[in-house]
């Protein structure tokens, strides 16, 4: 192993990591919005809604991401209608094609997570919300979603990590992401093992940070499930406020603990 080559390559690889993070960040946001819509469609009783949603999830989970990227990047150019349309400005760019593929792919996996999380919210709570006259949207916003977020979060963290790793496929459509940079430099200096090992280390660092970040978010969202600072409230102390929303920030230590 040539250590100095590995160290010299760090700045270029970090540049590539920037593109990787950009792709992943955008795909997570776009993918999540699509995922929620697909999950809601999947839970609908109308076959006009759940059938297409089911087909979407089945196709994107059942085929390799590489095929999906190639279908969008190379595949769509087969149709002159696409090449002549205004969309061609977007679809001829590898960046946008990779982003579309990543977003749809992660949306399909995340839709299943969201669906599972929504279905895990106790039925009685929804009935109670209906009984006090909440509309469908209010129910979703106030009762279902806050709880579903907490139920689905661990699984969603896994999905984000899988997406970071899957984003290495951007290098197959000539993008200079982390893997792309490693492959390009090693095709010049013939030291693929050094470059790829260094890239692997950077991927490890990124997934490590994301794992930690999700642990922190999980902790922040679990306020009501944590032990209060004083395990047994003393009789003369006020009853803890139960009306706090679940995403309320960390309870500030009030100095009453002795």
């Amino acid at each position: 192993m040539n250590i100095s080559v590995m160290i010299d390559s760090i700045p270029a690889l970090l540049g590539g990591a920037g593109l990787t993070l950009q792709l992943v960040g955008l795909a997570v946001v776009i993918g999540f919005v699509i995922a929620v819509l697909v999950a809601l469609a999947r839970l609908s009783r109308s076959p006009l809604l759940w059938l297409p949603a089911y087909g979407f999830v089945f196709f994107f989970r059942g085929t390799p991401l590489l095929v999906q990227i190639f279908l969008i990047y190379y595949g769509l150019s087969q149709f002159s209608a696409v090449r002549d349309s205004a969309l061609w400005v977007i679809l001829r760019e590898p960046f946008w094609c990779a982003l579309i593929a990543f977003s749809l792919n992660t949306a399909a996996y995340s839709a299943e997570i969201v669906r599972g999380a929504i279905q895990a919210v106790p039925r009685g709570q929804i009935e109670a919300a209906m009984a006090i006259g909440m509309s469908r949207l209010t129910r979703l916003r106030r009762i279902v979603m806050p709880q579903a977020v907490r139920i689905g979060l661990p699984a969603y963290g896994n999905e984000v990590i899988l997406l970071i790793k899957a984003s290495s496929l951007a290098s197959t459509v000539t993008l200079l992401d982390l893997t792309g940079v490693a492959r390009t430099i090693s095709s010049v200096n013939y030291m693929p093992v050094e470059l790829l090992s260094m890239a692997a280390l950077i991927y490890l660092a990124m997934t490590f940070v994301v794992t930690r970040a999700f642990k922190v978010i999980e902790y922040l969202l679990s306020g009501d499930r944590r032990q209060p600072p004083t395990a047994v409230p003393l009789p003369d102390q006020p009853v803890p406020d139960q009306s706090l929303p679940p995403d309320h920030p960390l309870p500030v230590a009030s100095g009453k603990t002795k």
Binding site: F58, F59, G62, T63, P64, L65, L66, V67, Q68, F70, L71, Y74, G75, L76, S77, Q78, F79, I164, K165, A166, S167, S168, L169, S171, T172, T179, A182, R183, S186, P192, V193, L196, S197, A199, A200, Y203, L204, T207, F208
Partner: protein
């Protein structure tokens, strides 16, 4: 399989290669998974650290990077060994071997966690009972632990298999003639990328569906004799 402008048989060949890569990787991956799970559960500190390092690294690195790393690293290793024996010509590495090796490592890392959970769920009393009957360590493992671990681990292993089946597509990057590579040839000839990549997608879907049916059958078989008893 439909003719696909004469490329049907070629894609079928590629699909066969894909299936071989997936099955070989699953086989070696399961073996690696069992061994590393035992290492992680053993009392040896070294074995635990080695096991942890393996699962952390392999699960944190993209499969594509792993495949490229093993392919190029393997070439370098083979050539350096050959050179030390006085062999001067450059030796190429078999893409099949490199691909299966990389995917086995990936499968094994995920399988380790599945097996670890499964081994831990076997009641300690059963092992004690087996040992009390005079069964040796190996016999206890084979007759008491393994059949139950298999049943508990099967759903998790099935999920990993479905993931690895799709990741075989990445081995096309190092030149293995599997479904994806054959599809690229067909695209090069016909200039119809959408048609052929969509065809490949449906072949992968078909393979996924068949795998799911086989896994279901395996799970049912593994669960025989474990049906919940009637409340009679």
């Amino acid at each position: 399989m439909p003719d696909l402008q004469g490329f049907g048989p070629m894609l079928a060949q590629g699909a066969l290669m894909t299936i071989q890569v997936a099955l070989f990787s699953a086989f070696f991956g399961v073996l690696i998974g069992i061994v590393v799970a035992m290492m992680k559960l053993s009392s040896s500190r070294t074995a635990q650290i080695v096991g942890d390092a393996y699962t952390t690294i392999v699960r944190g690195v993209p499969a594509l990077v792993l495949i490229l790393l093993i392919y190029f690293g393997g070439i370098r290793l083979v050539n350096e060994i050959a050179r030390s024996f006085g062999h001067e010509q450059h030796i190429e590495l078999n893409a099949f071997v490199a691909g299966v090796f990389a995917l086995s490592l990936a499968f094994g890392a995920y399988a380790t966690e599945v097996f670890r959970g499964a081994f831990q769920s076997i009641p300690k009393g059963q092992i004690d009972a087996a040992r009390a009957l005079g069964m040796g360590r190996w016999l206890t493992f084979r007759r008491i632990s393994l059949p139950q671990v298999w049943r508990i681990a099967l759903p998790g292993l099935g999920n990993i298999f479905l993931v690895i089946l799709k990741e075989t597509a990445l081995v096309s990057v190092i030149g293995l003639e599997e479904l994806m590579r054959k599809t690229e040839y067909a695209v090069g000839f016909t200039r119809q990328p959408f048609t052929f990549f969509l065809a490949a997608a449906f072949i992968y879907l078909a393979m996924t569906i068949v795998s799911m049916l086989v896994l279901q059958a395996l799970e049912q078989r593994a669960a025989r004799g474990n049906q919940p008893m009637d409340a009679a």
